[in-house]
Symmetry: C2
Subunit: 330 residues, 2 copies
DNA sequence: CTGAAAGCGCTAACAT
DNA sequence: ATGTTAGCGCTTTCAG
């Protein structure tokens, strides 16, 4: 376990003071070029690289952003993580990722851990519209916080998400366009803003058609399977199904096909998230895409823009777009 | 942005010295119960929680383990992350996760970042059997390193993985048992130990049958699709296919079905990883399971067991087990 | 332009 | 048993 080389080592090797070495390493131009050269050389020779922990303690900045997501096995969240990680890396920052396991308690604990690590900012996809508020509020007093994808009202943080009403409206319109008249919704119970908005949007879009069956569970594959079995058991299969997320749709699709229901012939399926998952199925999923890259950029922009406590939290809402594939007839 | 409360604040509020407050907070018993009580109360009243960064700088321990995986969108790796995160959390440690994007350069950079953060240990699923060695070697001089799943020979670190030969042998035996005689292998090019071993195992198991078609690409869904199209184009469809990973198998399955090839009737498919992905397909995938929970436990055990530099690196190899599902006839 | 010195928040000798 | 003090490695005044 060889000790890391420190500025002291570099300074000594270059025959200058620690301060000068530090200045050169920090890119300050107010240094004698000769000395600068000596320091650079010594630094490279010794393979110096700064101890981030010590620097953080001194500067109160870690160049690190924390992120908490409900489940790392949901590919939509993984996509969000990748997008954000990319944007942050571009400005030399790292992302520390935590999984809240869909539990508000775990979420609060993770947020605490990250704050103790002095992250410069926090990006949270909250577990619950209500239960996440407290932890978010206190976090917001310590560092910049942005909620992503899901909004917990009253947490007093900025928010970046997409227009779920517009997304679901596109789904329903598309199914109607393809001739569907009995459309069902298989989504998650309204404990998060996305689940709530998508549900409301579905109800709004099909208000005149009380035929629309609504099945509410969780954002999990298991629920997709269960919902499919329920529909099969009920016998009266809809001719169109809107799913609240790809994780639901994919397993629902598999269960329907296993039962001999043909997609898109017998029933057309449209989903939400446009994750890689929807490309692995046969047929591939028609799904609502959210502009993750742009959303990630905006999230980091908000993190960087110091919010003065008085200003009201900002909301950036992006427009989603339906990507049509074979599950609705291509 | 309220400042965090420090030991100093707690000490002042309790009317004791910083040292005493620190002792109480650290659970030392050598303190006057009255004072202890006062400190605890002050601590709770002020909502104190220790600054991990400052502590780390002093103790040279962060209670944090770094992990670098080739791609966070491969569900097998996600499963490994979840298992390790669970074991570490049980002993009060956190996991910092980095994605090397399947690039040895990125991997080296991530390892550097983590070392600068003074992680207590490093768990790496190396990108390449050869190109990862250098970064791993230097990392191993700074902290405890364990390679997981894939082994880069000569890095001088401990290793935890599973017996790929045994796994593939089970696959081939199972297909034969189900009556397959023309078995193909769709895997990854041998740039990693797992790809190499699985390929060799396949060649070894089917040595007497030069019929066995071998297609090598990457551990990606895109490759699975491409391989399926190649097999379809060649016309002479095998009656059994061994896939090197679920990500490959799932998209291969979708492409075959889309082309009207029935699984398992026309061709039986067996895969590797037993990730959640294989449960989402219709039919569900027969796949080789690796005991991730036990492997994670062992990994942390090795991290904790200080290796003296002289001792040879240790290897823990776990036995995989084929889980039979519908893609081979149930 | 350079160096000496202080200090981020914490813990562990050392001294009382 | 408690307090005082030094110092982890770094940056950044403040003198010179």
């Amino acid at each position: 376990m060889g000790r890391k080389v420190t500025v002291g080592d570099v300074a000594a090797s270059a025959g200058v003071s620690r301060a000068t070495a530090a200045r050169v390493l920090a890119g300050h131009t107010t240094v004698n070029p000769d000395m600068a050269k000596r320091v650079i050389k010594a630094s490279e020779g010794l393979g110096y690289s700064a101890n981030v922990v010590a620097r953080a303690l001194r500067t109160q900045r870690t160049d690190t952003v924390g992120m908490v997501v409900p489940s790392i096995s949901n590919p939509y969240f993984v996509g969000a993580v990748e997008a954000l990680e990319g944007v942050l890396a571009a400005s030399g920052r790292a992302l520390i990722l935590c999984d809240s396991r869909d539990s508000a308690d775990t979420e609060a604990a993770r947020i605490e851990v990250l704050l103790n690590r002095m992250v410069d900012g926090l990006i949270v996809i909250p577990v619950s519209a209500e239960d996440s508020v407290a932890a978010l509020r206190t976090a917001a007093t310590q560092c910049r916080v942005v909620q992503f994808d899901r909004l917990s009202q009253g947490a007093g943080t900025d928010f970046v998400g997409s227009d779920n009403f517009a997304g679901v409206r596109q789904c329903v319109a598309h199914l109607r366009d393809r001739g569907c008249v009995r459309i069902a919704y298989v989504g998650a119970a309204p404990t998060t803003s996305t689940a709530t908005e998508r549900l409301r949007a579905f109800e709004g879009s099909t208000g005149g058609h009380p035929d629309g069956r609504v099945l509410l569970g969780e954002f999990t594959a298991a629920w997709g399977t269960e919902a499919a079995l329920t529909l099969l058991r009920e016998g009266r299969m809809p001719d169109g199904i809107v799913c609240g997320a790809d994780v639901i749709a994919v397993s629902l699709l598999a269960a329907l096909r296993a039962a001999g229901v043909e997609v898109p012939t017998d029933v057309k399926v449209v989903s939400y998230d446009n994750s890689g998952l929807g490309l692995l199925t046969a047929p591939r999923l028609t799904s609502v895409d959210q502009p993750l890259a742009a959303m990630a950029e905006e999230t980091v922009r908000l993190l960087d823009a110091g919010l003065d406590a008085a200003a009201p939290p900002r909301k950036s809402i992006f427009a989603p777009k339906l990507i049509v594939r074979e599950s609705t007839g291509g």
